[in-house]
């Protein structure tokens, strides 16, 4: 057992859990934050994506006790019904999901991805490693390919992200 203090969605949360507890299981089983989903528990599907200190990670691949003092943002912290973030609202409008299970991971991932593009991080399909990153549909698809969707809402996910990005720029 280990005591860990996490800052989740701006709130300080104390956790006392088995050291084997992943960040994902801490959120879901200990802290009542079930928005982040478990799809594979092996970092293969992206359903558990959260932001840790602003960067997207697979929360199933990291232990909760490694994050003492870290700032964690989950889908619950992005927006709630009645007060959705622009990305969440765009996902609803464009039907960027069907069953909804990969959706929180998609949205957390997209939120952080848009910042990566603003910061000019290149991707595998970028023309240049050092130039300004552009948000083409291909760039969005590449950068979102770590988030699987078996319902295959991919075209709608791309359109939702494009619209939210354009609205914010």
């Amino acid at each position: 057992m280990k005591d860990t203090t996490l800052r989740i969605n701006g709130e300080e949360r104390k956790l006392s859990a088995d050291t084997r507890t992943t960040l994902l299981d801490a959120l879901r089983n200990h802290l009542g934050l079930t928005g982040s989903k478990k799809g594979c528990d092996h970092g293969q599907c992206g359903a558990c994506t959260v932001m840790v200190n602003g960067r997207r990670i697979n929360s199933c691949l990291t232990l909760a006790c490694m994050h003492d003092g870290d700032e964690i943002t989950t889908v619950e912290g992005l927006g709630q019904p009645g007060n959705l973030s622009p990305l969440q609202a765009a996902f609803v409008k464009h039907d960027g999901f069907q069953c909804g299970y990969c959706t929180p991971g998609q949205i957390c991932s997209a939120t952080a991805m848009l910042q990566e593009v603003k910061d000019n991080w290149p991707s595998n399909v970028s023309e240049s490693l050092t130039g300004e990153a552009e948000l083409t549909p291909e760039e969005i698809s590449e950068r979102m390919s770590g988030n699987l969707c078996r319902c295959a809402a991919y075209p709608n996910i791309v359109n939702a992200i494009r619209e939210a990005a354009e609205a914010s720029s």
Binding site: K37, Q98, Y101, A153
Partner: protein, 738 residues
């Protein structure tokens, strides 16, 4: 009040086209959308129950044999472990769809590698997982396991009701102007829904509540009760959100029964979730297939003979076999026909329904063979298909109901720019990429299932819809709300649709693409009954009644809805049953796919550049969610064509690629912006709302459009799916790489 309709006659009235409110069909956002995008929709694992503990399954390390004993010594003193459960009520594998009774049970006989044997329950998930890893299952392996579906020593079963010999196919082949005789192979597929199977079982006395992720609640209640050995009245299943099904959650599965048994013993709620590896190995696979296609055609390309003979497999004792021939029976003519089915019994994990069982691989291969015939005969592939649309069912002689097949072919060809395709393979090159176009037809049987729903028009003029129907991502929350909104003249915000609870009226469930039309019809019927009562109260004929924005009008009368309700709710149940229309006509859905691919001339890698699907499925209930379903289906087609395959170790039948890193479902970059066209259609024979099934039509041939495009790009015909690089490389034309 109950309104019952048995579908014996076509429903020609088309009331939904005459109402003042026309929300049905509109691209309305899902009412459940805000919950799903904010992480507040409650999936099975997420119910917060006091005292909940966790169970993890331990599984057989041999593929055939006997369980000798379970050695608990290594885990008895582990902290947190509450118990080890293992008994003959455990499920060998999930129930097949609509089984309505327990599937094969037992742990002492082992039939496949990874069969669930024991459940370790502990206070926390980490403790239970550790316990399951440490538990020793002592098994005796048998030496006569069968793992290869094409092994010489297999004597396959030949299901009697799946054989057809009509006319003389051999003679037709001998006399034909053009023939095709090709054998294709397709691998096993996994549904790989994003939410792993999960159940939380909780007992109050002898009453069991299961929070779980299932597609067909009324059947699942009976399957769970029969498995555990209690009366169905003592079982409640709650499943309002299902994180993807695709057939994998049709029948009650090992996690539910083991959780129920452990929870009863421990007196605490037990949560059992399958790991991703267990989902791959314990749920259901689509059977692999070997399919021999024979086509005989006259000089005009008209089929005189059609042969489709296949071999699939399953575990011993399973009644299901992949219905590969389903659409072959009715889509094309040809008087001389031989259709045959063989089932090999293997010690591989269970085979069952995976999205579009039958047509997903049957149409895929039939449409490859049609492409071969088009190439051989020099007839355009679109034209060839149109020439072979039969006037009546080629085996039964029955007429077809609404069938916009030719329209889908023409519309697709026009929109895609099919006339720009060079029919000679390997002619178009852009740098290191070879470009090609391909097309295929879509067809899927249409089914209506018995379904019930309750609609309550409350005294405040708002409505509640209740049915144990599920929404597995298909859009049920949206479409039932839309039908109710139109029928009662209400804003969708004033309707609450409640699903996935066995306390509600028993619906069709989600499967076989029949959920939307069946459950939509039940809501329609319940609303009809409410309309009749409102007409009576207003003093007009039911046919005159107009409900719009909370107002009722009819004849010369008018009044507010709340006035007519006079402080009391009206409640009605709708009940649809299939009837004679399913025998009187052949009902099916149709469409076409067009794809453009680029095949890398150096590596053999295929990229889908663009893809179009044109579909006719009767009345579309929500154009947004329907389009999404088609995107999903076509993307499955991309996966099946290019990379999805379960690999089995031929030495012991175990699944080699049992996770999402090794079993390759399409990712975002694999899928271009897809185009979907939904044809305007009404099928009066199908349902009182003129709707047919759509959820599976998107992948009933989709993969063939891609592999046919690969042939057009390269001249390489892939007979062994998926079309991975290794199968294309050797056949690529010699290129002069400038």
């Amino acid at each position: 009040m109950t309104r019952h309709l048995k579908m014996d006659e076509p429903a020609t009235n088309r009331l939904l086209d005459k109402l003042p409110s026309r929300l049905t069909g509109a691209p309305m956002d899902r009412p459940d959308g805000p919950l799903k995008v904010s992480g507040t929709a409650t999936y099975a694992h997420e119910w917060q129950l006091d005292g909940k503990v966790f169970g993890v399954l331990a599984r057989a390390p041999v593929s055939k044999g006997k369980l000798v004993r379970i050695d608990k010594s290594a885990i008895e003193n582990l902290p947190g472990v509450l118990g080890v459960f293992s008994e003959e009520r455990f499920l060998r594998n999930p129930a097949q769809g609509m089984a309505n009774e327990a599937p094969e049970q037992g742990v002492s006989e082992i039939s496949y590698f990874g069969q669930p044997i024991a459940l370790v329950v502990a206070e926390t998930f980490e403790q239970a997982r550790h316990g399951a890893h440490r538990l020793e299952l002592v098994c005796e392996a048998a030496s006569d396991g069968v793992f290869d579906p094409e092994a010489n020593n297999i004597a396959p079963e030949k299901p009697e009701d799946d054989q057809l010999d009509q006319g003389d196919l051999d003679k037709a082949m001998a006399e034909a102007a053009y023939t095709v005789d090709s054998t294709y192979r397709t691998p096993s597929h996994n549904s790989a829904a994003m939410e792993p199977h999960c159940a939380i079982a909780s007992w109050e006395g002898d009453q069991l509540t299961l929070y779980a992720s299932y597609q067909m609640i009324k059947f699942n209640v009976n399957e769970l009760a029969d498995s555990v050995g209690i009366e169905p009245e003592k079982v409640r299943i709650v499943s309002p959100y299902v994180g993807g099904g695709f057939g994998s959650k049709l029948g009650i599965a090992p996690e539910a029964v083991s959780a129920a048994i452990a929870a009863k013993e421990l007196g605490r709620p037990v949560c059992v979730t399958l790991t991703r590896q267990q989902v791959f190995e314990n749920v259901m696979r689509r059977s692999e297939s070997r399919q021999r296609l024979r086509l005989a055609a006259d000089k005009d390309g008209k089929l005189t003979g059609l042969g489709h003979e296949c071999r699939v497999s399953n575990l011993p004792g399973e009644s299901f076999h992949e219905p590969v021939l389903q659409a072959t029976h009715f889509i094309y003519g040809g008087d001389n026909r031989r259709l045959g089915m063989e089932v090999a019994r293997l010690n591989r994990m269970c085979a069952g329904s995976v999205r579009a069982p039958g047509e997903a691989i049957g149409m895929q291969v039939l449409e490859n063979a049609m492409d071969e015939l088009a190439h051989t005969s020099g007839i355009d592939p679109v034209e060839l298909r149109k020439r072979n649309i039969p006037d009546a069912h080629p085996e039964e002689g029955t007429p077809y109901s609404s069938r916009p097949f030719a329209e889908a072919l023409d519309e697709g060809a026009k929109r895609f720019g099919w006339n720009k395709r060079n029919p000679k393979p390997g002619q178009q090159r852009e740098g290191e990429w070879l470009i090609g176009m391909g097309m295929a037809a879509a067809a899927r049987v249409n089914i209506l299932m018995e379904s019930k729903a309750r609609v309550i028009l409350k005294e405040d003029g708002k409505a509640i819809v209740e049915t144990d129907m599920t929404d597995i991502g298909t859009g049920t929350y949206a479409i039932l709300t839309q039908v109710c909104a139109d029928m009662l003249g209400l804003e969708p915000e004033n309707i609450e649709t409640r699903l996935g609870d066995s306390n509600f009226p028993k619906a069709s469930g989600s499967g076989g693409s029949f959920g939307a039309a069946s459950s939509g019809s039940s809501v329609y019927l319940a609303c009809l009954d409410i309309r009749a009562e409102l007409a009576r109260r207003l003093g007009c004929e039911e046919s005159e009644l107009q409900l719009d924005s909370g107002q009722a009008r009819g004849g010369s009368k008018s009044g507010s809805l709340t006035g007519l309700l006079a402080g009391e709710a009206i409640e009605a149940e709708g009940h649809i049953e299939p009837g004679e229309t399913k025998e009187k006509v052949k009902q099916a859905t149709y469409g076409s796919y067009f794809a453009e691919v680029a095949v890398n001339a150096v590596t053999g890698e295929t990229r889908v550049r663009r893809m179009l699907g044109v579909f006719g499925a009767g009345r579309i209930l929500n154009r947004k969610t329907a389009t999404s379903q088609c995107y999903g289906g076509m993307t499955w087609g991309i996966g099946m064509a290019l990379h999805e395959a379960m690999e089995f170790d031929m030495r012991d039948g175990h699944v080699v690629n049992n996770d999402l890193a090794e079993y390759h479902i399409p990712v975002n970059l694999d899928v271009p912006q897809l185009d979907v066209v939904l044809l305007e259609e009404r099928d009066d024979w199908a349902s009182p709302i003129q709707a047919k099934g759509l959820g599976e039509l998107g992948l009933c041939g989709a993969g063939a459009a891609i592999t046919n495009a690969i042939f057009n790009a390269t001249g390489v015909r892939v007979y062994d799916y998926p079309a991975t690089l290794d199968k294309i490389l050797d056949g690529l034309p010699e290129l002069d790489m400038v």
